[in-house]
């Protein structure tokens, strides 16, 4: 197991080289001079030249790439033009909020999806099952920004139960303040989990080993908790994995609407202020996170299902 994880981590190296190259080239292809784009139209020629020297833009492209690679390897991911800080410092300040939404929304998703999946599977094909499916399909189809405003309108402004946005100090305060953004993200995760878990439950309930368990004299609840649920939840692991890597880079809209200073808002701000190194650094960082989350997903999968081996 340990060796397999080590092997997977080593395999990260070529992947990372590819990712850095790609994100570097993407910004190279973009038309215009990064220095003038950053300084604006009113900068003098000397200022632009100084800027270019400072960033190494006067060097050959492959040297520039090596600089960028050095920044990635040393962990700074480059320096922000706007914030004048290493990008990793910006990420470190914002990552906790994004991770909080990741964790919080996943907990909410499971809390919603689990009972509904079990209930729907038990009443397969009946009215309750069909109704639940329709509601969750609507949830998947609903645009997040719209859901954000509906929730703000009713739960924040209308009932006054939650703030309209922002973050607070401490765990409990954020549990309260991050509820609405996490709910928006969690609802679509819940819909995905409910559908796949319902199918997995129905599948497992018909498995021969469930008959074996019944033949042992086990009662319904015991069979469900020991045999049906654990085997059905395995498929949920991969859904959570996919969702988590998506949420890390994909909550742009939700973070912006609820003024959560997470990675999504950092990316939007960088794009608006034309902070190229931040865009580039974040791209690499997101890619690294996706690869790591995938690895963690695979490890969880191998732990949950003895038939699966980590290669």
């Amino acid at each position: 197991m340990f060796l397999a994880i080590l092997k997977r981590l080593l395999m990260l190296v070529p992947v990372l080289i590819g990712i850095t190259l790609l994100s570097f080239l993407l910004l190279q292809i973009m038309p215009g001079d990064p220095a003038s784009r950053a300084m604006g139209t009113r900068a003098s020629a000397e200022e632009l030249e100084a800027m270019r020297q400072l960033w190494g833009l006067d060097r050959p492209i492959w040297v520039q790439y090596l600089y960028f690679l050095r920044d990635c390897v040393t962990g700074s991911f480059g320096v922000s033009i706007f914030h004048k800080q290493p990008i990793i410092a910006l990420v470190a300040a914002r990552l906790p909020y994004t991770l909080a939404i990741v964790a919080y929304s996943t907990v909410i998703a499971l809390a919603i999806a689990l009972p509904f999946a079990i209930f729907a599977a038990a009443r397969r094909g009946r009215l309750a099952d069909v109704a639940i499916r329709q509601v969750f399909v609507v949830l998947i189809a609903m645009p997040p920004f719209w859901l954000c405003y509906v929730l703000i309108l009713f739960l924040a402004l209308g009932m006054g139960w939650f703030p309209t946005g922002g973050v607070g100090e401490g765990f409990l305060a954020n549990l309260h303040r991050l509820f609405l953004p996490s709910l928006v993200v969690g609802l679509s995760t819940a819909a995905l989990i409910q559908q796949s878990l319902r199918a997995a439950l129905i599948d497992t309930m018909q498995a021969d080993y469930i008959d074996t368990a019944r033949a042992k004299g086990l009662r319904g609840r015991e069979i469900f908790l020991r045999h049906v649920l654990p085997n059905s939840l395995i498929s949920t692991i991969s859904i959570i994995g996919v969702r988590v890597s998506w949420i890390i880079g994909g909550t742009v809209v939700v973070e912006k609407i609820f003024s959560v200073p997470g990675l999504g808002s950092l990316l939007i701000d960088a794009i608006v202020s034309r902070d190229l190194p931040v865009i580039r650094g974040l791209t690499v960082f997101f890619a690294v996170m996706v690869v790591i989350v995938n690895l963690i997903t695979d490890i969880c999968y191998a732990l949950a299902d003895p038939r699966v081996r980590l290669e």
Binding site: M205, L218, P230, N231
Partner: protein, 331 residues
């Protein structure tokens, strides 16, 4: 006193095209310590019959529509509420499923799966249940049993897995074991080992076994008595030697004639023409009549004939054919 008496059992399956009467008035007895074989083609209702005994229908929409399943000292299983029947399962009667590949939970260690049945019915601790599981694996002749306890099903061969399933069934020394084609999914040499094991366990524990199979060779190898089933009904029953040596129902004869190997070696193989009838709308009279070479007009009238002894037949040898004499030549 028979260990198990099944009287006029009727089991129905709900299907999209209607209600299929998979078991339609089946009666037989199983004596203590005997191996009772039920043979028949796929879909004849043999599996449905034995699943009815413990009401293990998987995900299928099935119900027992009538009849009695009397287990000595326990009562009528057909009338028993589910909660009470759960106490009987595994303790008084156990089930061995056809496919050991799918009959074990893939994500649970084998030892834990065996211990589970012990913990369910006995007031013992985990360590004690584990020790019992170890002994059970030894009893079913599993090599290096300590190591197997910690194995997951996919790490074992088909034969070993079926031994594990048998160990699980034997865990509480039930008086009855129902084995639904326990060797069909295994290759021939392993099949033979598993049958020997079942017989050996019966000899040392005195367990009665109901063995469902489509393989007459298996029946002649280990069964004491047998029943032949066709389209939801028993057509012939008796001691194995008598039924196989002097079959009196045309279907049994046709089945033997269609069999390669020892039973019908001196005869050419004769396939049974046609297909089994629909269980949703079965033909009137004898179910086999439409395919029977001897059928006469009155065979297709009224209710299907009941099992009855024939003049000169051995005691307990019954068949459900109304014809007096069925010629040997054409079967």
């Amino acid at each position: 006193m028979s260990l198990l008496s099944i009287r006029d059992l009727r089991t129905e399956f709900q299907s999209p095209s209607g209600i299929a009467r998979a078991v339609d008035g089946v009666s037989f007895d199983v004596e203590p310590g005997e191996i009772f074989g039920i043979v028949g083609e796929s879909g004849c209702g043999k599996s449905a019959t034995c699943r009815s005994i413990l009401r293990l229908f998987g995900g299928a929409a099935a119900r027992i529509a009538g009849g009695q399943i009397l287990l000595d000292g326990v009562g009528d299983l057909a009338a028993m509420p589910e909660r009470q029947l759960a106490q009987v399962r595994g303790r008084d009667a156990a089930f061995i499923f056809q496919d050991p590949l799918t009959a074990l939970n893939p994500t649970m260690k084998v030892g834990k799966q065996i211990a589970e049945v012990i913990l369910r019915h006995r007031k013992v601790g985990r360590a004690e249940a584990r020790a019992a599981a170890l002994q059970l694996l030894r009893d079913v002749q599993v090599t290096s049993p300590e190591r197997r306890l910690e194995a997951y099903p996919h790490e074992l061969s088909g034969g070993l897995r079926q031994r594990v399933v048998i160990a699980m069934a034997l865990a509480l020394r039930p008086r009855l074991i129902i084995a639904d084609e326990p060797t069909t999914a295994l290759d021939v040499t392993v099949q033979d080992q598993i049958l020997r094991l079942l017989k050996e366990r019966r000899d040392s524990l005195g367990t009665s076994i109901i063995l469902i199979t489509h393989d007459l060779g298996v029946v002649s190898q280990i069964c004491d008595r047998m029943a032949v089933m066709y389209a939801g009904r028993l057509v012939e029953t008796g001691r194995v030697r008598e039924v196989l040596d002097a079959p009196s129902h045309p279907y049994t004869r046709a089945l033997l004639a269609a069999l390669p190997g020892q039973v019908g070696r001196d005869r050419a193989l004769t396939p049974i023409e046609g297909a089994p009838p629909s269980l949703i709308a079965p033909p009137p009279g004898c179910r086999f009549a439409p395919r029977c070479a001897h059928a006469v007009a009155r065979c297709t009238l009224g209710d299907p004939p009941p099992l009855a002894p024939r003049a000169g037949a051995a005691p307990g040898h019954l068949d459900a054919c109304i014809l007096d004499e069925v010629s040997d030549a054409a079967a």
